[in-house]
Amino acid sequence: MSKTLFDKIWDAHVVSTVENGPTQLYIDRHFCHEVTSPQAFNGLRARGLKVFRPELTTMTADHNTPTIDQDKPVKDPISRNQLDTFAKNAAEFNMPLYYPLGHDKNGVVHIIGPENGFTQPGMTIVCGDSHTSTHGAFGTIAFGIGTSEVEMVLATQCVLQTRPKTMRINYNGKLGPGVSAKDLALYTISKLTTGGATGYFVEYAGEAIRNMTMEERMTVCNLSIEMGARGGMIAPDETTFNYVKGREFAPKGAEWDEKLAYWKTLKSDKGAKFDLELDFDAADIQPMITYGTNPGMGMGIQESIPTLDQIDEAGRISFQKSLDYMGFQPGEQLLGKQIDYVFLGSCTNGRIEDFRIFANYVKGKKKADNVVVWLVPGSWGVEKQIREEGLLDIFTQAGFLLRQPGCSACLAMNDDKVPAGKYAVSTSNRNFEGRQGPGARTILAGPLVAAAAAITGKITDPRV
C-alpha cells in the first residue's frame, strides 16, 4: 500500500497501541531546555525514577539566558536559580549531553540540534517547545510536548500520541527575488489562519521547497505550529544528506552507508493518500509582514490591513482588539510606518544564512538613528561563522552590535524586552500581545525586511 512520508516514520516507531486510545511512540532524540524541564525532573525524583536513556537527551540552556556578559553570573536571582536547577538536574541524573551557558555547543535548542548532527532523517524528535517542528526539515516527525510528556520521555523514552491527520502543501514554481522561506511560511499561515492546520501533520513539497537550502527548510517547518499543525516535514534529499554528512553526531563509515540507504526511502509514495492536499503558486508570494497579534494576521508588505467588513462577524471583536493593541486602523497600509526596534534571531531566523542576508543588505549603509537593533545568533557555532565570514565587520561598520546566543527577544524572558507601545520588526515567530515584553508591538518579517527596517527606520520593501 502507498504510504506517506509521515506514515513510514510513524509506523517504524510504534511500540504499542492502547486499545481505543493513543499510540505509544518511541522517541529517538529528546531536546531539553531549562524552562520546561525542572518540573519533569522533580516528577522523576518524586517517583524515585532514573532517566531511562540519558544519551538520547540533549540539554542546552537558551530560553531564560542573557545575551550579554554570559561569562558573568546571571543577575536575576530567579533566572539564575532556574539555570542552577538545570545544572543540578543534569549532574544528578548523569546526563552526558549537557551544554550550559558558555559551552561551545550552547545555543537555541532547534539550532544546535541540526548543527551538531543530532537531527537526522527518519527520527522521532520531541522537546518541551512548540518550535520542535523545525527538525521536520530533515524528514523527521518532530513536535513540541508539555512538561508531563518531558517527564514521560525521560522516564521511558516514549510518549502517548494520537495519530494526527496528514496534509500536504505543494508550492509550485519558484519564489520571486527578495522573497524568503519566512515569507512563504507567513503567507501560508495568513491563508490557513492560526488554527487552520490543527490536528494535522504537514508535509511541504513542490519545486519551491526542493530548491530551498536546509536552513530555509528549517524556517518553513519551524512555523508549522503557528497554523496549529502538530508538526511539519520535508522529504530528505541530496540537500539534506549533504548537510548532515560529517557533523559530529552524524553516523560515520559503514553506519552512514546503511542509514543513507534507508533515508533514501523516506518520501511519500506515488498515490499516497493525504487527508488534505493544498496547492500554492510560489510566484504569488510577496515579502510579508504581520499587522495583528497572531501570526495568521499577515499580508504582503505593499498591501493594506483588511477592513472590518472583510472579517467574519464572530471574529470582529478579536480583530478590533488586536488592531487597538497594535495602534493600527482597519484598511491602513503599513509601508513607511516608523518603527523602534529590530530583532534578528530566534529558532526561526537565527542561522548563518539569515545573518548573511541581513549583512548583504546593510553592507556600506548606516543603521537608522531611531532604531534599536538586536542581532542575536542562534548558537556559538553561528557566532563563530559570523566572525569567520567577515560579517561582524560589516555589522560594526554599519553601526550594529552582535549579541551572544539565546532565544532573547523572541519571548523576552531575559532583559531583551521591547518597551510598551514600541514597534519591533522581528524575525521571530510570534506577534502575540506582550510576547516581546508587556505592551510591545511586534511586526513579524523575514531577515531582508528586517534589514531594510534597520537601515531606514521604517517599514520598507527591500526590493525597491
Binding site: P22, Q39, S148, C158, L160, N294, I317, S318, K321, M413
Partner: protein, 195 residues
C-alpha cells in the same frame, strides 16, 4: 492526578478568539521550578495594571462572574507548548475549559493535569456567552461518564468527544506515565528489535 467525574458550576466567560498561551501565562512568569502559584498570574497582562492593581474591565476581576468552568472563544490555547498554561488554569481553580476549538498541545497538557477541555458547537458556545451575559448565575453541567454538557439556563445539551483512554484516565485519576512505566518490557523489546 485528581479524578474528574461530573461538575455543575457557574462560568467565567471570555469571548475572545485565539487566546494564546502567552496570554494565559506570559513568558516572564515561567522562571519557577515547581508547578505551584501560576494561578495568581493567569491572564496577567489582561488582569492587572502595571502597578499590580486589578483591571476593573477584565472578567476575572468582575465579582459577578466566578466558578470552575472557563468558557472561551475558538482556538483556545494556541502557541507555545508551555504546560504552565494548564498549571495556571488549574491553579486558579478551573476544572473545565469550554470552547468550540482547542489547540492540540494545550488540550494534551490540560488532560495531563486533570483539566477537561470540552469542545462544543459554535451555536452552543454563543448561547453560553449570551446567557451568561444576561444572567451571570448561569450554570453548566459537565458529565464525563456520559460525555455530555448541559446549559442549565436553556436546558440544551450536547455530547462531546474524548478519547476513551483519556476518559478512563480522568475518571480514575491515572497519569500517562503510570501506563508507560508498566510497558518497560515492550520498550526494551522494541529497542532490541532495531539493533
Amino acid at each position: 492526578m485528581e479524578k474528574f467525574v461530573t461538575l455543575t458550576s457557574t462560568v467565567v466567560p471570555l469571548p475572545i478568539e485565539n487566546v494564546d498561551t502567552d496570554q494565559i501565562i506570559p513568558a516572564r512568569f515561567l522562571k519557577a521550578t515547581n508547578k505551584e502559584g501560576f494561578g495568581d498570574n493567569l491572564f496577567a497582562d489582561w488582569r492587572y495594571n502595571k502597578d499590580g492593581s486589578p483591571k476593573a474591565d477584565f472578567v476575572l476581576n468582575n465579582p459577578v462572574y466566578g466558578g470552575n468552568i472557563l468558557v472561551a472563544g475558538k482556538n483556545f490555547g494556541s502557541g507555545s507548548s508551555r504546560e504552565h498554561a494548564a498549571w495556571a488554569i488549574d491553579g486558579y481553580g478551573f476544572k473545565v475549559v469550554v470552547s468550540s476549538f482547542f489547540a492540540d498541545i494545550f488540550k494534551n497538557n490540560a488532560l495531563n493535569n486533570g483539566v477537561l477541555p470540552v469542545v462544543v458547537s459554535a451555536e452552543f458556545l454563543a448561547e453560553i456567552f449570551d446567557g451568561a451575559n444576561k444572567d451571570p448565575k448561569l450554570t453548566l453541567t459537565v458529565d464525563l461518564e456520559n460525555q455530555t454538557i448541559k446549559n442549565n439556563a436553556n436546558g440544551k445539551s450536547e455530547s462531546f468527544e474524548i478519547n476513551s483512554y483519556k476518559k478512563e484516565c480522568l475518571l480514575k485519576g491515572l497519569d500517562d506515565i503510570d501506563y508507560l512505566l508498566s510497558k518497560r518490557e515492550l520498550i526494551e523489546a522494541y529497542e532490541a528489535s532495531r539493533k
